[in-house]
């Protein structure tokens, strides 16, 4: 195995270990554990068996492995951006509603004291 492959393999193992650590701390749940484990296992498999990616690429009709990786990365980025945007909007709305309701309640208390 080439040193570069070894380095990537160790990185993949470390990330897999981190997923389990985060699961044990109950930061993520079983379904997230499964998804992320599969992603990193696929990563490890493609490091150990580089031909595996070529076969997948060929099946998908893509010329180069790098092209496939680039497209998948962009799709992942867009999905993440959109999810962040939606989550951000939800948080903004909840925060705004909370601050406003607190202001109304605070005003009510002062009115009753008068």
């Amino acid at each position: 195995m080439v040193i570069f492959q070894l380095g990537l393999f160790c990185f993949g193992l470390y990330m897999l270990f981190w997923v389990f650590l985060v699961y044990k701390k109950r930061i993520i749940f079983v379904n997230e554990l499964i998804v992320w484990s599969l992603i990193w296992l696929f990563f490890l498999a493609s490091i150990l068996f580089p031909d595996l990616l070529e076969k997948i690429t060929y099946r998908l009709g893509v010329v180069r492995v790098m092209d496939l990786i680039m497209v998948l990365s962009f799709v992942a980025l867009w999905i993440t951006s959109y999810k962040n945007y939606v989550d951000n909007q939800q948080i903004k709305k909840k925060f705004s509603d909370f601050v406003r309701q607190e202001a109304i309640k605070g005003s009510d208390k002062k009115t009753h004291r008068r």
Partner: protein
């Protein structure tokens, strides 16, 4: 008079708001005035008479959200009609009886329109007129000053004009909803007071360009 509340959103207006309130006293009972302190650096309550209802946002949310808080509090307090005005002293309380008169005539919404005069920043005037033309043309309302924050409406139409914008574009959004819901609207010409350059706050040119885009989107949503 009993069931008409005045809602004033305020952010760091400890300089102008007390003066506005002093003038307002002659035209409307202070216990029917709600000031929403939108996260001002110094709590504005200290500068106001105790009769005024004050709701304070712990953080600044924007004019639109402050107006929402004020309107909801007014409706909760039994308001049949609500008059909105700015805290920066730009809106003369002497117009309040005119708003009330027009509300009594059965109008569901009254929009203030600032008269042109020398003190008005020229660029803002032109920009405002253009924006008003766009809005009027797209939503069938003939209004000269859609960005004017001095307006009044019956509480029962609040749910129809309720806005999502947190900033100054909430004023435009109210106009859009009034047009979409075909509310009975009336325009009232008012004098605007520009105390200093700072008091000419509000929509910037950049906000306006964004607004024009949003106006077309609102119109498209209607068609769908």
């Amino acid at each position: 008079m009993k069931n008409i509340y005045i809602v004033i959103p305020a952010y760091n207006e400890e300089r102008h708001l007390p003066l506005t309130i002093r003038k307002l006293k002659s035209y409307h009972p202070l216990n029917r005035v709600i000031v929403v302190d939108d996260g001002s650096k110094f709590p504005i309550e200290k500068f106001l008479p105790p009769a005024i209802m004050v709701a304070r946002h712990r953080v600044n949310l924007g004019k639109g959200m402050a107006l929402k808080t004020g309107c909801e509090l007014a409706i909760k307090s039994g308001a049949k009609s609500i008059i909105l005005m700015d805290a920066d002293g730009q809106h003369d309380p002497k117009e309040i009886p005119q708003f009330i008169r027009l509300l009594d005539q059965g109008n569901q919404m009254i929009f203030g329109a600032r008269r042109m005069h020398k003190g008005m920043p020229f660029g803002r005037l032109i920009f405002n007129r253009v924006l008003s033309r766009f809005t009027s043309g797209l939503f069938g309302l003939r209004l000269r000053d859609v960005a004017c924050g001095y307006k009044a409406f019956q509480s029962k139409v609040y749910s129809k004009i309720s806005w999502k914008a947190s900033d100054y574009s909430s004023d435009i959004e109210m106009v859009v909803h009034a047009g979409i819901n075909k509310l009975r609207c009336q325009e009232l010409l008012i004098d605007a007071i520009y105390l200093d350059k700072r008091s000419a706050t509000g929509i910037t040119i950049q906000d306006g360009i964004k607004l024009v885009g949003e106006l077309f989107l609102w119109k498209l949503r209607l068609k769908w």
